[in-house]
């Protein structure tokens, strides 16, 4: 996916751009009315814009040049001008505010739908896609949509400004207006020219800036290596080259903007004034004309040219917006959904009996990582899974948790297919304790409650007490309200484990799935954790992945897995007696523990 996206950045064909645009516009449809209102205000703004020069023109032609104006007439025109200005000001404010809010809400809508979509995607998507990539889509790319929407506003304002000022000119003098239209193809040419030259340089500049910043970040991160090998001078030189090359493309961007942006528009405007004066002047050579019209025309010409600078300047933002949109849509179009359930709303887990019948499972439909696995765990019993990395232990959990769908065989809970339970029922009755505990930003309480508002503070404290997490929590400043910062960096890994035990136990699951931590846990909490695990298992069906075999000695059944097969099964004593690989592993660990 990341590869595809790199290629996409280079060239998006026009048709594709339009398609993307159309789809992204559908996210704006709930706010259609606001957008329409803003556009109406845009039209009103353009009309008031055109009215103001007209007032002065009438004042000049009908009164000032005629002579004998009274103070009342002057006051009337001054007030009229001011009155329209007030209207213009008001209309302008609401146009900007309503449009900006509508686009803000559209971005919110995109974010919301994207986030909801992410939560509907299965673990396969998250296992295959880098976290950073997903986060960038949900944050930076949606934020870039805001600029994108702003470009629309600029376009709308520009287009109405041009049309209405042209219309106003037509009302005053058709011939002169037609002459002015000579500038239209010239302008289009300038715009096209600018677009071709600027977009190339703009992208070059952007990619050079990102290269520059990557290099800087990398140097900071690898500083100890650089200093150790005394390569400071060389890297300084290399960085200076990158720095210079960024400066060069930035400088050519400045040059292109200076050559083709506001200076050229300004020149064209002045030339348009030359044309206007020439046309009216030639007329005036033969017969007298109204001079106010000349003022009005020069003023309209200004309205005609002024929006173009901003319009051209925002073209590159438009391109960025299309790229961001297309990346957002790749996520929206992803179909790696959560495995489907054939919901039977009545289905409930009451006892917690688990049966695997000839289950085979593969992540890619080709290489099977579980082959023909069968076992039964009776309610309240504990089964332990043992084996090397890649033996299939984690895959059994992925199947049992419905993170992935399995291909062959049957998984039954309380005699019913695992596929028939509503996902919520399944999740609420099964408690998975993960290897590395992940803590969220918030308080201890928040982390035990984990967004389930039905859980009371009392239950939280009881759960903490049950797994003996209360001892260290009560020593914290603020106790259960103590803040968890930076993923719980201030807690030891053992303490984090205890908190996650509490959050599992507070939900009172029927089935417990334990993925034991491989990392060494500090000795202080080690015994608490062992005790906690034992207590949690009481009265619950437990599936445990164990790395330290001493912890599963009392399991009702131990499965030894190798390359997706069950190679040994039995109780601890039985397996020791058999003298297979379980026994080897056990002995090795025992020696380790003694030292």
């Amino acid at each position: 996916m990341e590869q595809q996206e790199l290629q996409k950045r280079r060239t998006i064909p026009f048709n594709e751009q339009m398609r993307i645009l159309k789809r992204i516009l559908t996210f704006a449809s709930p706010y259609r009315n606001q957008f329409i209102l803003a556009i109406c205000f845009s039209v009103a703004l353009a009309v008031t814009n055109a009215a103001l020069p007209r007032i002065i023109q009438v004042f000049i032609d009908d009164h000032l040049t005629v002579g004998g104006v009274t103070i009342q007439t002057i006051l009337f025109f001054a007030s009229l001008h001011f009155g329209v200005t007030i209207v213009r000001m008001t209309v302008w404010y609401f146009e900007l505010y309503i449009f900006n809010m509508a686009s803000e809400k559209t971005v919110q809508n995109i974010r919301h739908q994207l986030f909801t979509k992410l939560h509907n995607l299965g673990m396969r998507f998250f296992d295959q896609t880098s976290t950073g990539w997903i986060i960038t889509r949900a944050t930076n790319d949606t934020e870039a949509m805001k600029d994108f929407w702003h470009v629309f506003l600029t376009i709308i304002q520009g287009v109405f400004g041009v049309i209405i000022s042209l219309g106003a000119m037509f009302l005053l003098d058709v011939t002169v207006t037609l002459w002015i239209l000579i500038f239209a193809p010239v302008l289009l040419l300038v715009i096209r020219f600018y677009q071709v030259y600027s977009s190339r340089t703009y992208h070059e500049m952007k990619s050079k800036l990102s290269l520059l910043n990557t290099k800087l970040a990398e140097t900071i991160n690898g500083m100890s290596v650089i200093q150790q090998f005394r390569q400071e001078k060389r890297l300084q030189k290399e960085f200076e080259e990158t720095n210079q090359s960024y400066f060069n493309s930035r400088f050519s961007m400045v040059r292109i903007n200076a050559l083709l942006l506001s200076p050229v528009i300004n020149m064209l405007y002045t030339l348009a004034v030359v044309l206007i004066l020439a046309l009216f002047g030639i007329d005036a050579l033969t017969s007298p004309i109204e001079v106010g019209i000349i003022y009005a025309f020069t003023s309209y010409a200004n309205d005609f040219f002024r929006p173009l600078t901003r319009l051209m300047d925002s073209l590159s933002l438009f391109q960025d917006g299309v790229v961001s949109s297309s990346r957002i849509l790749t996520v929206m179009d992803n179909e790696e959904y959560v495995p489907e359930q054939e919901d039977d709303p009545e289905a409930q887990i009451t006892n917690g009996k688990i049966e695997f019948k000839n289950v085979s499972f593969s992540y890619d439909d080709e290489n099977y990582v579980l082959k023909d696995i069968s076992f039964t765990v009776n309610p309240g019993e504990t089964i332990a899974l043992v084996g090397h990395t890649g033996s299939g232990k984690s895959s059994i959990i992925n199947v049992l948790m419905r993170f992935y769908d399995f291909q062959k065989g049957e998984v039954l809970i309380d005699g019913q297919s695992i596929r028939s339970f509503p996902m919520r029922e399944l999740r609420h009755r099964t408690g998975l304790v993960l290897q590395d505990s992940f803590l969220f930003y918030g308080t201890i309480k928040d982390n035990i409650r984990l967004m389930n508002q039905a859980i009371t503070d009392r239950e939280i404290i009881e759960a903490a007490r049950f797994v003996q997490a209360d001892q260290f929590i009560e020593e914290l400043p603020g106790q259960y309200d103590a803040r968890v910062v930076e993923r719980g960096a201030s807690f030891s890994s053992g303490q984090k484990q205890l908190i996650s035990f509490a959050s599992t136990i507070v939900r009172d699951p029927k089935i417990l799935i334990l993925d034991e931590a491989t990392a060494n846990i500090d000795t202080e909490t080690e015994s608490l954790i062992q005790e906690g695990l034992e207590r949690m298992r009481q009265g619950r069906t437990t599936v445990a992945i164990a790395h330290r075999l001493s912890t599963i000695r009392d399991a009702d059944q131990i499965l030894v897995l190798d390359k997706g097969h069950i190679v040994e099964r039995g109780t601890h004593d039985e397996l020791i007696e058999r003298g297979g690989s379980y026994r080897d592993m056990y002995e090795l660990q025992n020696i380790g523990l003694q030292s």
Binding site: H119, E232, M267, V291, R427
Partner: protein, 583 residues
């Protein structure tokens, strides 16, 4: 305005360029005055019926030539002033980069990568705004504002001018006040957005936990609350942001009101012509931007000087690792004697190392073993002069290592760290990092010795394969072996392996170590490791625990001591047998 003084070194350096740019700007300001005046004159000539073909042609030619003249000069000042701004950014970025490369560990502990990156991006932008927008606004406001004002007074009428410009200072005030308000609200909105980012990051990283507890719906609700907050914060931004253009319109409206009122009065009294009136109205429009820009100027300067403060603070930081005057420039060689009484990390309580004494003869090998966190790496860091503040002495060839130049010491030590940092470059460049001029043969020889040559050949582009973020991802063992090759290549006087074979299997380790032994006959080596097999052939082995040496001796004598070393050795032997049995 202090910022302009503080940046005067740059303005002086680019004096010529700025003079040309500002000169062009002033001429543009003057040329700008011509079109409204010509419009006024033509209007008057038409109205009075005195227009002739020649006069019209003259005026039009003048107008057309100012159009072209303005274009050329506008191009000139834009390129000069914005170009200079980019140049300032480039220069200060270089200063920062060079400064970073000269800083010590403490500096990088104090400022995290994210902070440093923020300074190198946001603060540089703030600075660029001062050198570009700041200078431009100041010169523009003064030249355009002043010339237009003078033109209004002398060409049209001073009474009208005085009245019409009464509301204009309001523009400057408005842009200043609104700009400040907007800045504050914008900061809030940014903060809300970054909270939202944190939320997304947390949800994606903790996706498994959320799925496990079936809390997707609740998480989406929480996310919605955050986006609501973002929308609300942005709403207050838009409330102000949408005010700028309307406020300008309003203030200009008052000006126009006064102009029409007084102008109409003056025309009816015959004191000014209709053409004067048209000229005047156009001039008023030209004053909007300079007046407004003055307000903005204050904000640019305020932010720019805050940025420059932060940059200067960084540049003022000093490294604690300095070369003494007249330091020895001769490469280190000979006996290494480590006589450390105590060392603690700066800003940290408690001693990290205590009474570490050992002597390593030239050509000898020392093994350092101990638990993670016992202080093995710290010992090596002191050797590498990452920290100088310790009690005791480390002597190399009889001289304190702090008496050598950094080149004399570090260039002759090949250190292979625990965390193998590779750069986003080809494998070849990573191996010959210390000297990119070395040949492919030399690189390959080092790679073979580090037992990574075959692995590299199996990669898609061999030695040209890119590694790092954009390239292939290497296993921990591969990274370790590339780091070893990187150190071998400089043929160091002292080679230090800091737990750098932990991710390779026992067989590979053995072949690398014996290869090294062969190659480095007569050269000094220190091996710190968790695995006893890495150090068992060393002449001396020290066992470090809690920053102190608890056992020392040769492999055999340590086994006789029946302590931690012996326990570890036996345990690891068993693992090895078992691993071997399984294969």
């Amino acid at each position: 305005m202090g910022i302009f003084k503080r940046l005067s070194w740059f303005f002086k350096q680019e004096k010529k360029s700025y003079l040309v740019g500002i000169g062009a700007l002033i001429i543009v300001a003057l040329l700008q005055l011509i079109p409204p005046r010509i419009i006024g004159i033509v209007v008057d000539e038409i109205e009075m019926g005195i227009i002739t073909q020649e006069s019209l042609l003259t005026w039009l030619l003048i107008l057309a030539s100012t159009a072209i003249g303005q274009y050329v000069l506008r191009y000139l000042w834009r390129v000069r002033i914005w170009g200079n701004a980019a140049k300032l950014e480039q220069i200060v970025r270089k200063q920062l980069f060079d400064h970073f490369t000269n800083m010590d560990n403490e500096f990088f502990q104090k400022y995290r990568t994210g902070d440093l990156m923020a300074h190198a991006t946001n603060d540089l932008r703030g600075l660029r705004m001062v050198a570009g927008g700041g200078i431009l606004t100041m010169a523009d406001a003064i030249s355009v504002g002043l010339t237009t004002l003078l033109a209004m007074i002398f060409i049209v009428d001073w009474r009208l001018t005085l009245l019409a410009i009464i509301p204009l200072p309001l523009l400057a005030m408005t842009s200043r006040v609104l700009g400040q308000k907007l800045h504050l609200r914008f900061r809030d909105a940014q903060a809300a957005f970054s909270h939202l980012n944190d939320k997304v990051q947390e949800s994606i990283q903790g996706i498994k936990v959320i799925k496990t507890f079936g809390q997707e719906k609740e998480d989406i609700e929480q996310f919605s609350k955050q986006t609501d907050n973002v929308v609300e914060k942005n709403r207050s931004v838009y409330k102000i942001d949408s005010l700028f253009d309307p406020a300008i319109t309003f203030i200009m409206g008052i000006s126009y009101f006064l102009t029409i009122l007084v102008g109409g009065w003056l025309i009816s009294g015959g004191e000014i012509s209709v053409g004067d009136f048209v000229t005047f109205i156009n001039y008023i429009g030209m004053l909007v931007w300079p007046m407004f820009a003055i307000g903005r100027l204050f904000n640019i300067i305020e932010r720019g000087s805050a940025s420059y403060d932060r940059i200067e603070n960084l540049l003022r930081e000093e490294t604690s690792i300095v070369e003494r005057q007249g330091a020895i420039d001769r490469p280190v060689t000979g006996e290494l004697s480590f006589e450390l009484d105590s060392f603690s990390y700066p800003d940290e309580e408690g001693t990290t190392l205590k009474n570490i004494h050992f002597t390593l003869e030239a050509g000898g090998t020392l093994g350092v073993v101990g638990k993670t966190g016992a202080g093995k790496t710290t010992i090596l860091k002191l050797l590498l002069r990452e920290y100088d503040g310790y009690k005791g002495r480390i002597r190399y060839g009889g001289y304190d290592i702090r008496d050598y130049t950094l080149d004399a010491l570090l260039k002759h030590i090949g250190y292979v760290p625990q965390d193998n940092y590779l750069f986003s470059d080809t494998i070849r460049e990573n191996i010959r990092f210390a000297d990119p001029s070395l040949s492919q043969e030399a690189v390959e020889a080092a790679a073979k010795l580090a037992d990574i040559h075959e692995d590299i050949l199996a990669m898609p582009n061999g030695y040209d394969t890119e590694v790092g973020e954009r390239g292939v991802s290497l296993s921990g063992g591969q990274k370790q072996r590339i780091s070893i090759a990187r150190a071998i290549l400089i043929n160091p006087e002292l080679m230090i392996l800091d737990d750098s074979l932990s991710a390779v299997d026992a067989k590979t380790e053995e072949s690398i170590l014996s290869g090294l032994k062969e190659l480095r006959r007569g050269q000094t080596t220190i091996i710190a490791a968790h695995r006893i097999s890495s150090v068992m052939h060393a002449e001396e082995i020290i066992v470090v625990e809690d920053g102190e040496i608890v056992e020392r001796g040769t492999h055999n004598s340590l086994l006789e001591q029946d302590g931690w070393y012996k326990d570890m050795y036996e345990q690891q032997q068993l693992v090895r047998e078992l691993e071997g049995g399984e294969v």
